[in-house]
Amino acid sequence: MESKTYLLILILIFSFISCVNSNNVEMIYKDQIGDTSFNPNLDDPEFKFCDSTNVLHKRAYISYSGGKRALEKAIIKHYEFKPEYSGFNGYFIVRFAINCNNEPGRIRIQVLDSNFNQTNCSEVLMQHIQTIFKNLKNWNHAIYKGEDYDGYTFHVIKIDHGKIQST
């Protein structure tokens, strides 16, 4: 009985502390908006930035051989439609980095509905998109003011009834 009371008091104290904390949350700022740190659950440990202290946030300097259309074609080519995807209408905003060796990594996906509100899709579909981007070759890393850089970029995929649309 006594130990239960202690436990209750402890729980109360902890919840009080966490309440206080949540009211005084220090805003955490990244060095740059869009910096994507390594997440062991999502990221390939083999993917490395050449200089992690200086990753460019200049999308225009990263290109795909053959341009956007070649990229769209490559994505559609690797996309395997499954009937279970057909309930999904919306957009995938795929953010990722291309390191100075032209390798993709740190892929993050925002799933939005047709009104650009946050939504969900099946985990399988999400994984599939992730895998497609992991395996895309033909990237050209950023060269800025004559120097090689790692850099971040993103790509928008529009899905209509589970099928990728050309935009």
């Binding site: 700022y29 869009g34 946030h57 953010r95």
Partner: protein, 271 residues
Amino acid sequence: MRTLLILLTSSLFSYAQPNCYIYAENSQERKACELSYKAIQYPQGSKASQKLFDQAIAIAPEFAWAYYEKSVPYFKRGLLREGLDILNKAIKIDPKEYLCYRAYWYWQYKNYNLCIEDLETYYKLPKAYVQFTPGGDKDMRIILGLAYAKTNQYKKGIEIISNCIINYKSKDDIGLTDYHSLGILYVLDKQYSKAIATLKKQLTINEDMADTNYFLGIALKEKLNLVEAKKQFTKALSKYRETNRFININAGFKVYLLDIENEIAALSQIN
């Protein structure tokens, strides 16, 4: 002159920056305004700038410009939802100033329906004024026309772009890519004679886009003028290969090297 103006406007100021002196000295708005100016001295998206925008917003939550400026790097870096959440606050305070900016990002992120919705709302606002893409390359009415075309409403798009061009106050206001955009829509709507006339007009204003010759070639081909069509495709190819060729930033309908090469190959029998 227009090119110079575009270069100046795009490098000197983005969406109308407020004059902090219009706010009373020691007012919350004046403080927020000054903090926001301080923020834009730091690299866009940097920690220092973000902190200053948040301070500005905390002091004057009704100061729209701070939200707008804060949202910019989110949009540029693929954090669309986060960007919208911030920008929407600016739009709520001052829709006339910021609706077009949201429409522009809807366009960039390929949601043409939302883009159309915002721009139609904007142009119905009392005293809506002429607004441009953030880079200054196009009047937002051209973007609206192109967005209609993206949703296969070519006639609506043609009407909007034609009206935009007619309603310019002076001929000098005609954009470097306006007739090009209109010409493409005529091609897509299969009005090839009008497409030819419009794209030729484009060439008198700015002849440096390979894409113009490509679409002109397509219209001529449809009119069975194959010799002229091939000439235009060949011109397109040589312009495409120029290192400093003119890039139509918000083209909407972009031409790739392969498109031009395919057309030339298909007309290989024509001299």
